[in-house]
Amino acid sequence: MNKIITLFKREYRAAVRTKGFIITLVMLPLMMGGGFLAMMIMEKNQDTDDKQFAVIDHSGLMKEYLEKAVEERNQNDIFHSYTGDKIAPAYEIEFVEPDNDHPLDQQLALSNRVKSAELHAFIEIGPGILHPTEESPAYLRYYTEHSFNDALRYWFRDAVNNNLRKLRAQELNLTQEQTDDMLRWIDVEGMGLVSVDKKTGEQQEAEKTNELQSFLVPYVMLILMFLLTMMSAIPLLSAVMEEKNEKIAEVLLGTITPFQFMMGKVLGGIGVALTTASIYILAGIFTLTQLGFDSLIPYQVLPWFFVYLILFIVMVGTGMAALGATCNDNKDVQSLTFPAMLPIIIPMFLIAPVISDPIGPLATSMSLIPPFTPTMMVIRLATSVTIPIWQPIAGLLGVILFTLFSVWVGARIFRTAILIQGQKPTIATLFKYAFKK
């Protein structure tokens, strides 16, 4: 055990006492949170250039209403209420008489104006937009080169539909008040559950939740586990290959057993992961507390997170060390990196369905398959849904058994492969190393 600790200390110091570690510590969350950051930056730096668009109104019902709606929007919605800064583009609407004889020519002419950036888009309103029939269909067609997430498109949809509702209400001779009442929209208010305070025994009102919270917490947990595994377990693949090629392995194997060698390296990885996790989590708790978002901190999940993290790194780390021992060069390492990372990558693709239904069959079954349990179970536990307690416990037992199996197989592969040069790491050779007597 002393030898494993000596090797662990070396591995830990070698990883932590480098500029690379500090840079990675800072850069990784920035890179992985880059999407959120970009969204925040984009929100602040929205395009405020005025947008001109043309409308071909086959119904003849919309001109007056839309011109008024555009004017109101340009007056009320495009400037910041406090600073007065322009925060959104003004719209300029141009109505074009429909050319029923040559509709395609008209559309082409307008398309060319969009291409030359004279127009942002043009829109066609169907003749039967108010009361569609077979001969007179209802449609709203938005022609543009920027169809994805185009604010004008959604503003136009809402404006036309508002007018249609009003026109229909007018036909029923409803008053403005009746119309407003009829069209009133109530949103759903997300709430947690009512609970009993364990100390005082008092009932506690449910707290408000929001969609961001229910997504953000499990997402951050998954990303954290992904980053920590990437920093601590994945590098073992190339590190062991290098130590084998540079003959460091043989020097050490004169003193320590292959198992001690492998476990010393894996423990080093755990040390790096726990250090990094502690830094990130303490920094996160401090920041959220300072900003008044204490409710976002999932304290009850943290013990599970650390237990699963340690087992996950042992599981992945032994696999990586064993595979690294079979590699002869960087080419071998590259060919093995992707398949070896699948237990980490697959949960990334499943985060959306698992968060949307954490107790559904997909989430439950995936979280009980040992290679995926650490990540999937932590995601589920981090959601606001109550997971039956037997599931994280069963998952933990499964992971412990699978980790023991990984260590056993990994050690057998490692001890044989670490001294063999020139043999390609194929499934057949791995199987031979693992199970041949």
Partner: protein
């Protein structure tokens, strides 16, 4: 008392028998030289002694221990291929190896050895800044830092300049004086002749020589002449009974065919040239090595 005992040890890699039915006893406190051509099985034998690889058959005891799963205590091992963590500082690296080998009083010992092997100025430098020879000395220190009872050195002199080879030789002899047993493999026959109490030669996985230098030489008798003459090697042409001439330029080492009388050779030489040296001797280790492993021998054995 023997510190190492091998009995009928065999190791096969695929279809190749790297070591074939090898038996060997290494007495405690001796210097034992392992010689043999490249790929003959020296390193495999050493790796088995170190329990890095395991024999397929036979028994192998080190200090009486046969347990395969435990690493040897009090052993220092310098493998043929040197491997050091390049990014570590010398002092840290030696401390790491010393701790792994469960050495005591390490900081003091590190200072002593760095000083003795002329590396003290590099203590705070990283390994990657050292030359090849310096790295070899560093690895040697890492091997002996914990004062092992058994020191196994695979090619300790390769790549060293004469000054450093001399320093290394002195250290090895010192270790022996302090009671350590030394095994080293080498291609430097002169060094093996001068340093080793016992010499073991392995060829194609089989033991072909084992004993003291004198015992080995006695197997070949006084069939060697060392001759210095004005004509050099040309004077030896056409003389009957000469089996092989190893020409060193100024000196020729002549191997006589069995039953050849050295006096007859001298008689034939005298009319041809002026002779300054004519020595009847036993064959050198180098010559014995060549006799066993030379291409002529392989052809003669249809190998």
């Amino acid at each position: 008392m023997n510190i190492i005992e091998l009995s009928g040890v065999t190791k096969t890699f695929g279809s190749v028998k790297a070591v074939d039915d090898l038996s060997l006893s290494v007495p405690k406190g001796s210097i034992y030289g392992f010689i043999g051509p490249n790929g003959s099985g020296k390193t495999t034998t050493i790796r088995m002694i170190m329990k890095i690889t395991y024999p397929d058959a036979g028994t192998l005891r080190v200090n009486g221990q046969e347990n395969q799963d435990q690493r040897l205590r009090n052993v220092g091992y310098l493998p043929e291929d040197r491997g050091l963590y390049k990014k570590m500082k010398l002092g840290d690296l030696l401390l790491f190896h010393g701790e792994l080998n469960q050495g005591t009083d390490l900081k003091k010992r590190i200072s002593y050895w760095l000083d003795r092997l002329d590396l003290a100025d590099y203590r705070e430098k990283k390994v990657e800044t050292l030359s090849k020879g310096m790295r070899q000395k560093l690895q040697f220190i890492a091997t002996i830092l914990h004062q092992p009872e058994l020191v196994i050195l695979d090619e300790p002199f390769s790549g060293l300049d004469p000054v450093n080879a001399e320093i290394m030789k002195d250290v090895i002899l010192d270790l022996q004086k302090k009671g350590a047993t030394i095994i080293f493999s080498t291609h430097d026959m002169a060094m093996a002749e001068m340093m080793c109490d016992y010499i073991f030669m392995i060829y194609k996985g089989k033991k072909v020589l084992d004993g003291t230098l004198l015992e080995i030489q006695d197997q070949y008798g006084n069939d060697t002449l060392r001759i210095q003459s004005e004509m050099g090697a040309a004077a030896l042409e056409g003389i009957a009974g000469i089996e092989h001439v190893n020409n060193f330029g100024k000196l020729q080492e002549v191997r006589l065919a069995p039953g050849t009388d050295p006096q007859k050779v001298l008689t034939e030489l005298l009319p041809k040239t002026r002779i300054s040296k004519f020595e009847i001797t036993k064959p050198s280790l180098n010559d014995i090595f060549i006799r066993i492993a030379s291409p002529e021998r392989k052809e003669a054995n249809n190998e």
